[in-house]
Amino acid sequence: MTDRFEHELSEFLDGRLPSGRREQLLERLATDPEAAVRLRELEGTQALARALPTQAVGPEFTDTLWERIRAGEGSPDAIFRAPLPWTTKIRYVAAGAAAAALVLTLSKFTTPSAPSDTTTERVATAPSGSQGGLRPYEPGLLARSPVLAPLRPETVAQAGQFECVEAVSALQSRTLDVVQAIDEVDPREVVVELDPFVGRARGSAEIIRWMQRADLVKLQPQFDTTLALTERILERFHRANSQNDAQLLRVAVEDLQELEIEGLRQKFDIVCCTSPEDFLQDLREQIQRSADVRRALRFVVTGGTSGQMTIDIQVGEPRQLPFGFSGGEPMLILQRFDALPSELPTETLAPATRR
């Protein structure tokens, strides 16, 4: 009984197997007693887990909650904070307090919801075709919820840079945890854990490179070099994944630990502008071309005929891309931002921020 077949059984149990494979599996189950036993074991496993009792909330749960709401109590801070290992934090503290604070806040666990009431204080934009460049990350821009920004070269570039730094930071953090385990476990298990971050990092690097090739941004030499190193390491992760190569994985992990991520935080310039239509068309092509790019950018669609806001949590599923929506305006969820709202044309503010 192969691992793959057992995985298919698991998906079959959840009704997740595509119809073609499902037919084949049903045929096998009808003729292979061992396979049928495996399925029954899996069903038994599920029944066992679900037989555990549910824990009911106490009788005062609802009353206490409404008391807290009436008292004006706010959301717990932790809901937007990344649970990073302390080893990682210490490493970042050693690298500088600003970097540490940044990593704590630039969290992948930040929910991609629309902005809260605090989020309009700063919004992402720069004048179209600005020569001034984008500011590098600043500790002063911490602890804020993400904002919505129009899809423009400067906002996409910022999002790409943000995502690149954040995904590579997260990857460094997680590889610290797994580096000791590579020899002890199936490399595929390690790769499964790291794959989302590798994908996001690759996608964001692709975005930056596309914008560089299209002469939309100009990278500082240090940024360019660090990005090239990052791309090489990510390629190793990718190959380690496809070839199930533990040695290559170890090399990639070691190189990643050596990578000076500060280089990716360098300021870069918007050097050329393009028409919004052309830019959106080019961006759409990038998104359709690469699953990794889809992982790296997050969108919401605002507006629409109902006048209500639709939130799509992007998890790399092509069908969730907002460009298929009619009547809605795709907006970028941006988690770092440079300008004050007064610098942003009012028509580009998301409806949710003004309601």
Binding site: H7, S10, E11, D14, R16, V37, E41, L42, G44, T45, Q46, A47, L48, A49, R50, A51, L52, P53, T54, Q55, A56, V57, G58, F61, L65, R68, I69, G72, E73, G74, S75, P76, D77, A78, I79, R81, P83, L84, P85, W86, K108, F109, T111, S113, P115, S116, D117, T118, V192, D195, P196, Q308, M309, T310, I311, I313, V315, G316, E317, A352
Partner: protein, 185 residues
């Protein structure tokens, strides 16, 4: 805690919020209890998650309440676990006393021999879940025990759907290896 004044939700939203409490509060608490191994803290997590939802009702469509709540609950649990881990590192010799056992099931109607057998089996099942690697455990808790879809779990865990499928499969393998003799085929 961040405090802010927000407008009162419209009646339809309030109805949806109340329904979400009725439908998901127990599940959230159960999920948090298995993440934390602490029933009291789990109830706080569930309540904090609903409080956060209330503060973001305008931004979260009713259809997304459930994954949103679980995502928040998961973050709160991970935050607690991280703080707890740090405390343990600082005070290794101080015994942790804040962990409460899971609320026992009322099995007063069972015969004593059945009770012992059931309790033992339950403890083994609990232990098998507890010893799953964290990523596998949370996927197992969400999909296998709470019955969330792969898509919702992926949104909660911020990972691709395929990863959810793989983690769930691995978790089931390990769980079966640990308690396979209890499974009646």
């Amino acid at each position: 805690m961040r405090s802010s004044s927000i407008p009162t939700p419209d009646p339809a939203t309030l109805v949806a919020f109340n329904r979400a409490m009725a439908d998901h509060a127990d599940g959230l608490k159960t999920f948090a209890a298995r993440m934390l191994g602490d029933s009291l803290a789990a109830e706080d997590v569930a309540q904090d998650a609903f409080l956060a939802l209330y503060r973001h009702l305008e931004q979260v469509p009713a259809s997304a309440y459930r994954p949103w709540l679980y995502r928040v609950a998961r973050n709160l649990c991970l935050d607690q676990l991280r703080r707890r881990k740090f405390k343990l590192r600082l005070f290794r010799d101080v015994e942790r006393d804040d962990d409460q056992p899971l609320v026992p099931v009322d099995r007063s109607g069972d015969r004593p021999d059945q009770l012992a057998e059931t309790r033992e089996a339950r403890e083994r099942i609990e232990a098998a879940i507890e010893t799953l690697p964290p990523k596998f455990r949370e996927t197992f808790l969400l999909c296998e025990m709470q019955g969330l879809s792969y898509e919702d779990a992926a949104a909660i865990l911020d990972c691709p759907v395929k990863t959810v499928s793989t983690r769930l499969f691995r978790a089931r393998q390990r769980f079966k290896a640990a308690v396979g003799d209890l499974i009646k085929v």
